[in-house]
């Protein structure tokens, strides 16, 4: 009997997924059909007042901010995992690990607020431009993806058989050579998954970036320009959107949903392939 209770409860989590998927597709798909898939995805103008729904600038926004976050966060995250697994004494490791997990516990609105008060003025003062920019978003997201990148990379390095390291050292490799030429290549699939999941986390983030990106709907010319992402587009306009504009926001959601699904599937495929 209890088996069925658990089954129904388990089913409810899956049905939430199904419900949300069906809902956003049913709400968003008609407008994509109306505008045309190509014009919707590659259209340069987003002007709901005139009935123009092109999300390409926002796709560019999401991609640049996310790639910027990955460019900053991934090397730092991987180096941090290497430090924790290979170099740090146990005491330091036991300090680092919970501290990094704590990073994941900070609410995104706090990240955004901190970015607005601290990072944005810093960029405005030292690098110019309005401060609200791709760079500001990338810095905030880089910090936010660290826990994901670090913990998955760490797990994949720790999962390596100790014989790999012993074998590498026995060949006369020094510690760093052993890490670089044996351990990291051996942990490659896990590290790639860490990067992809980090990117998935970054591309889906809304609250933190809405406060620091400036949210202008235009193709950015430099990383110091303000930009709007797919997520912030929904976040900003949903309050007052109705009719086709609301549908267009759901359609934006479909695109976002598809991208994140694809990234997660890629991460799963890569880790499983091994």
């Amino acid at each position: 009997m209890s088996k069925y209770v658990f089954f129904i409860l388990a089913l409810s989590s899956i049905s939430a997924l199904a419900l949300i998927t069906i809902f956003i597709i049913s709400r968003g798909a008609p407008i994509i059909g109306e505008v045309g898939f190509f014009d919707f995805v590659f259209g340069m103008t987003w002007a709901p007042g005139r009935g123009e729904y092109g999300i390409f600038p926002m796709i560019v926004g999401s991609v640049t901010v996310t790639l910027g976050a990955a460019a900053l966060g991934v090397p730092i995250g991987i180096c941090c995992s290497i430090f924790m697994t290979e170099f740090a004494p146990a005491a330091l490791r036991n300090f680092f690990r919970p501290a990094i997990q704590l990073l994941a516990g900070i609410p995104s609105v706090v990240y955004g607020f901190w970015g607005l008060i601290f990072i944005v003025p810093l960029i405005r003062e030292y690098l110019g431009g309005p401060g609200l920019s791709i760079l500001a978003g990338a810095v905030i997201l880089a910090i936010m993806i660290l826990p994901t990148v670090i913990s998955i990379t760490e797990v994949s390095i720790l999962a390596l058989p100790p014989e790999y390291k012993a074998g590498a050292m026995a060949l006369g490799l020094n510690h760093w050579q052993a890490i670089k030429t044996v351990l990291l290549p051996a942990a490659k699939s896990g590290i790639v998954a860490a990067v992809i999941l980090g990117i998935g986390r970054a591309i889906g983030e809304t609250m933190a970036v809405i406060m620091v990106l400036g949210n202008a709907v235009a193709l950015p010319q430099s990383i110091l320009d303000p930009v709007r992402t797919l997520t912030t587009n929904i976040g900003i306009e949903m309050g007052y959107a109705s009719g086709t504009q609301s549908q267009a926001l759901f359609a934006t959601g479909i695109v976002l949903f598809a991208v994140i699904m694809l990234l997660n599937a890629a991460a799963q495929f890569i880790t499983r392939k091994k």
Binding site: Y164, A166, G167, M169, A170, G172, L173, V182, A186
Partner: protein
């Protein structure tokens, strides 16, 4: 029978060399070697000479410190926190544990093959070239080194068309020979083999033993083995180690007997040795 014949031939020839010719060269010498892991006294007062281009087998019951002794020679014990070596260990006269000695240089000269084949998750070619690559050997040399090393372990003909294939796709016996080739690619002069056949089937074991005999023409080989027959078949010298009562209650790995294999097996001087090789304990 054939192998036994070769063994006896080999042994007699070796004993001739050692006992009638004064130039038998000690490759590795330990004097008053002690190894501690924290408070555990793993090896006590081991003094022995390991002769160049001979196969020396270290035998003894489980947990007696055989592998620990092997790992003293290439300082792999350094990786274990709390391991401490006192006394002297020299290879070709130079002190292995001297503060100025370079541990990576030492490990290039003293290769090691492990109990389970630890082929890296990379291609056959990459597995072998990883040592030369890290030691700054020019890239255009790697092809030659890979071929030479694979020929040395009699894998070239089997693998020459599959160098790009993953090394972990080979059979276990081939993997272990690949690990030997990988060690040889660094051009060591000593090879340590830590129960390197214990994970293999009899046929692969035979191939590795044949290989040891060939390699002993050029290299000094030290093996740890649980297999008495293997020690008898393959080794020129045998060292029997066992845990013995130390000071107070502490037990410590002690070298009981060290002699040409044929003497140690046919005429053990120590009762423990005799009990162990005849299978009364261990």
């Amino acid at each position: 029978m054939k192998r036994f014949l070769r063994f006896s031939l080999k042994s007699s020839c070796c004993s001739t060399i050692i006992f009638n010719m004064p130039e038998a060269v000690a490759k590795i010498s330990t004097v008053g070697l002690n190894l501690h892991y924290g408070s555990f006294h793993a090896l006590k007062n081991v003094s022995m000479d390991i002769y160049a281009r001979q196969i020396t087998a270290i035998i003894g019951p489980s947990g007696c410190g055989k592998s620990s002794l092997l790992r003293v020679f290439n300082r792999m014990n350094d990786l274990i926190p709390g391991a401490k070596v006192t006394g002297s260990v020299t290879i070709d006269g130079s002190d292995v544990y001297d503060k100025t000695s370079d541990v990576t240089e030492l490990r290039k000269r003293v290769g090691m093959v492990f109990q389970k084949p630890n082929v890296f998750p990379a291609s056959v070619y990459e597995n072998i070239s990883i040592g030369p690559k890290n030691h700054g050997v020019a890239k255009n040399e790697w092809d030659k080194i890979v071929e030479r090393s694979l020929r040395q372990v009699a894998l070239w003909d089997e693998l020459k068309d599959g160098l790009k294939k993953p090394g972990q796709g080979l059979s276990l016996g081939q993997q272990q020979r690949l690990c030997i080739a990988r060690a040889l690619a660094v051009e060591p002069d000593v090879i340590l083999m830590d129960e390197s056949c214990s994970a293999l089937d009899p046929e692969s074991t035979m191939k590795i033993e044949d290989l040891m005999n060939v390699l002993a023409e050029l290299y000094t080989i030290v093996i740890v083995t649980h297999n008495m027959e293997q020690a008898l078949r393959v080794s020129d010298y045998a060292a029997f180690i066992m845990l013995a009562d130390g000071d107070g209650e502490n037990k410590a790995g002690t070298l009981f007997e060290y002699a040409p294999t044929i003497d140690l097996f046919s005429n053990p001087k120590h009762k423990y040795t005799e009990d162990y090789i005849t299978g009364r304990f261990g």
